[in-house]
Symmetry: C2
């Protein structure tokens, strides 16, 4: 008998997530699979801020992606040992009756399979397609990325460097700033907790911002838009400053600055381009192998600690991608 | 001797423009032109809301476009009688030393030459390029235009009809609404002074808005964005609700709705596409001649009445394009 552990959303989020929002349950899965079925055993699970924004109904298993190993199979297309990535939720074991919905993880060689939850998965593809299509960065332009040490932001900054841009990033600790500048080659970085945004942009992007990749939202977004150059492009990828607020920030509306400088601002989601992921994954893997794209993971050991890893996202505990190792 | 009348911005705008912002002056122009010069005599002048947004320095002649007749010429490329359109400001007579900056008005046949300030000029090209490039309307989609009886809005609605869209428009009087629906073929119209926006959009665009062409700004813009469909496109063309406010509206920020529905919002300005105007003007003239594009002008007689025509823009006095006939 296989016993699956799973995290349930015990009550709807309200304000900052805490442990009372979750409860763990176990579920006994049948030993016998039916024709076509496979049993997936989670190896790595992902926690991402979007899970606060698109929560499941209370009482359901939390949604989310995992990298799993097929440990039993009645489907010849998915033999035992196959490594897949899929939106199976916060659970250790899952019987999948239609494995065609599972994504086989490509051969990553010596690279960790958890990359399929980071640079080689949703955050990477959000950065790749979202940044390139919404921001259209050109050689020599100035790019500003906030929450730049996060799972998506650090990849955006690295793509911008590859595209020949000057990259300015903000993050919430000296350690993160150091990694962005020394580890990833960002041109300018600042700690948003110690430097006011307006001063930082004047100092680090005196020529104005051409491309803005926004993970933060709220009034910060408007203030960056006001610092953008004519015909600048912005991608709205996340609003982590807002997710835990019951009353969203009110503030000066951005339509005046958008009109004066003919800005283009676009909301983006990683899954929207899923049909084109293979192309993006191929490029990303090449960049990683060439050493042009570096990655960092903050790994939490143990499925039981998944909730604290999730909660930690909102206080900036992670550097790079937050991963749970079962 | 030629005496030119001109309107000076006497003091910077603050709040709603009134007659104290302006003074009339006269200027004596030399009788003798130099080699290459021409004398332009205004026939029609334009007043547009943008003049409140991009004002000239106090003490200068107000900026703006006019249609003028060359009444003296020392330039063989611009003989007497040539009709031109140019940004010559609020003045009756102008000596132009570099006529290459003047735009010759194409042969409009029996159509009024004032169209070069409306459908065949800046408002028309703002509608044409701004709407098509920022909103990318597709056959069968729902388009919402506010201030739809204004110089730009009415043209946007008509282009949207030509492109096979369902068009919903708002305006500030029953007379304007009637013109939009019965005169121009808008599918749905409402009077924003008597119908709250949210109710109006629910009633007239229950399927959601795919393309939004915004002339109004402020909280109305956010509220329309919240009613848009996935991957909707918005053009921010004007913010007439805001121009006369010293304190701009604050309100709920739009980044959440933009992210959830992957909206694309772009600020647009008519002059930005000036290199491509010939293509747009050709199409517009064809539509006018085919009867697919109708036009309406609110004509104020007399250069002396130009200020009151300008002030009237902000209380919605004009239907269609506001024109001053000298």
């Amino acid at each position: 008998m296989v016993v699956c552990k799973k995290w349930i959303l015990a009550k709807a989020f309200s304000g900052h997530p805490d442990s009372s929002n979750f409860r763990m349950e176990t579920e006994e899965l049948p030993d016998q699979l039916k024709e076509g079925e496979v049993l997936c055993e989670a190896i790595f699970l992902s926690v991402d801020p979007y899970m606060r924004l698109f929560p499941v109904p209370p009482g359901s298993v939390m949604m989310g992606e995992q990298v799993a190993r097929i440990s039993k199979s009645e489907n010849q297309n998915f033999p035992v040992g196959t490594i897949v990535q899929s939106m199976l939720g916060w659970r250790t074991h899952t019987i999948v009756s239609d494995p065609s919905k599972l994504n086989k993880v490509p051969d990553l060689g010596d690279l960790p399979k958890s990359l399929a939850l980071g640079a080689m998965g949703m955050p990477g593809m959000t950065a790749y397609f979202g940044f390139l299509e919404a921001c259209c960065p050109k050689n020599g332009e100035t790019v500003f990325v906030n929450a730049a040490a996060g799972a998506v932001g650090n990849i955006v900054g690295q793509i911008a460097k590859i595209k020949g841009c000057k990259v300015v990033g903000s993050a919430g600790s000296e350690q993160k700033c150091k990694w962005l500048k020394e580890g990833l080659g960002f041109d300018e970085v600042f700690n948003y907790k110690t430097t006011p945004l307006e001063k930082a942009l004047k100092d680090h992007a005196p020529q104005g911002v051409d491309c803005f990749f926004d993970n933060v939202g709220g009034e910060e977004t408007t203030n960056v838009l006001k610092h953008m150059n004519k015909c600048g492009r912005a991608a709205i990828c996340g609003s982590i400053s807002q997710y835990n607020k019951e009353e969203k920030d009110k503030g000066e509306l951005p339509y005046g600055p958008m009109l004066m400088n003919m800005l283009r601002v676009k909301g983006i989601q990683g899954w929207h381009h899923v049909q084109k992921w293979p192309e993006g994954l191929k490029q990303m893997l090449l960049w990683i192998k060439e050493g042009k794209m570096k990655y960092k993971e903050t790994v939490t050991e143990g499925f039981d600690n998944m909730v604290s890893a999730f909660i930690g996202l909102f206080s900036g505990q992670n550097i790079g991608k937050a991963i749970i190792k079962v």
